[in-house]
Symmetry: C2
Subunit: 172 residues, 2 copies
DNA sequence: GTCTATACCCGGATAGAC
DNA sequence: GTCTATCCGGGTATAGAC
């Protein structure tokens, strides 16, 4: 498990932080080994003394994001509050959110439990029913990614769409 | 509007069909100008005599997919039927579905109305309420893309999750 | 309408010296 | 822990001959 986030050296952590800054500021094209090295004032090959490959770096970014989103959910009781926290996190960190949620996830690269901790608040808000929780997550992710990608019609009232979905899953 | 799908030359249409075959059979990495040309037995630069650039080709694939999904919705009355058709289309054409729904959409490249026609069945199934329709679409897209990407836990009962979401949006 | 040749980007990663 | 030099791959696109 040398690639698991908890075992990164201090220097590797610096690299990951720099990578995160680049990703958030400039998007996924900036997340190249060359650009990261440039930002650190070193050459790309030097990065490989600290991280085995690029995927390990991405895994560290993803794991950190999961921990952050779990923290963002803390204190959110009902589904509306969890959804608001979810939406806010994604809008605050759009490029990171995409990295976290798009495409297959290499779970072997993550510390166990990281994904579950992020999901826990959603399951709780769904009243503990796993099926409803998955459906609610799908709704939240769908709204989020379609919003980030500009897929809804111009001028669409997305607050109202979020509210409609939340009301559907959490009538009361 | 020379790049709009309706105005493609016969040869351009062959190219688009070949591209679609490659995309569906081998995934997005196969959707390169070199690979498409290879499959046609010509060289990549020759493609540019028929299509202005790669984005035009992608736009044609996307527009065709939208028409197909609109057709797939025909006859689906309630939300459950529309959702089933949506899920089936995406699972039958996963790479195309991703191309159609991931990232920003260059609407200038599409014939007007194509997107609206695909959406019409969802709006109708949502009882005509645009906010609920957007929320329901987000749910369906979220379920679909998370399913395609293997994001749900191994062994999760996704039929049950779909059913939970459908019940939430269309109680009765 | 096709070709060859080419220009111009980009990327991840390794070997071996210091 | 950093470097230089390099290898490998990929891609979109254009010019100009045939």
């Amino acid at each position: 498990m040398a690639s698991s986030a908890s075992e990164l050296s201090p220097r590797a952590r610096e690299i990951v932080e720099t990578a995160r800054g680049l990703l958030e500021a400039e998007g996924p094209e900036a997340l190249s080994m060359r650009r990261i090295a440039d930002a650190l004032g070193i050459k790309a090959p030097s990065l490989y003394k600290h991280l085995p490959d690029k995927r390990a770096l991405e895994a560290a970014l993803i794991a950190h994001g999961f921990e952050e989103i779990a923290t963002a959910f803390a204190g959110a009781g009902d589904l509306a509050a969890v959804a608001a926290a979810y939406r806010a996190y994604a809008n605050d960190h759009p490029h990171l959110y995409r990295l976290m949620t798009e495409g297959p996830l290499e779970r072997e690269r993550l510390e166990p439990g990281v994904e579950t901790r992020a999901a826990a608040a959603i399951v709780a808000a769904a009243g503990g029913d796993e099926h409803t929780a998955r459906a609610a997550w799908a709704f939240a992710h769908g709204m989020t990614i379609l919003e980030l990608d500009g897929r809804f019609p111009r001028g669409a009232d997305l607050d109202a769409a979020w509210a409609a979905g939340i009301a559907a899953f959490d009538p009361r």
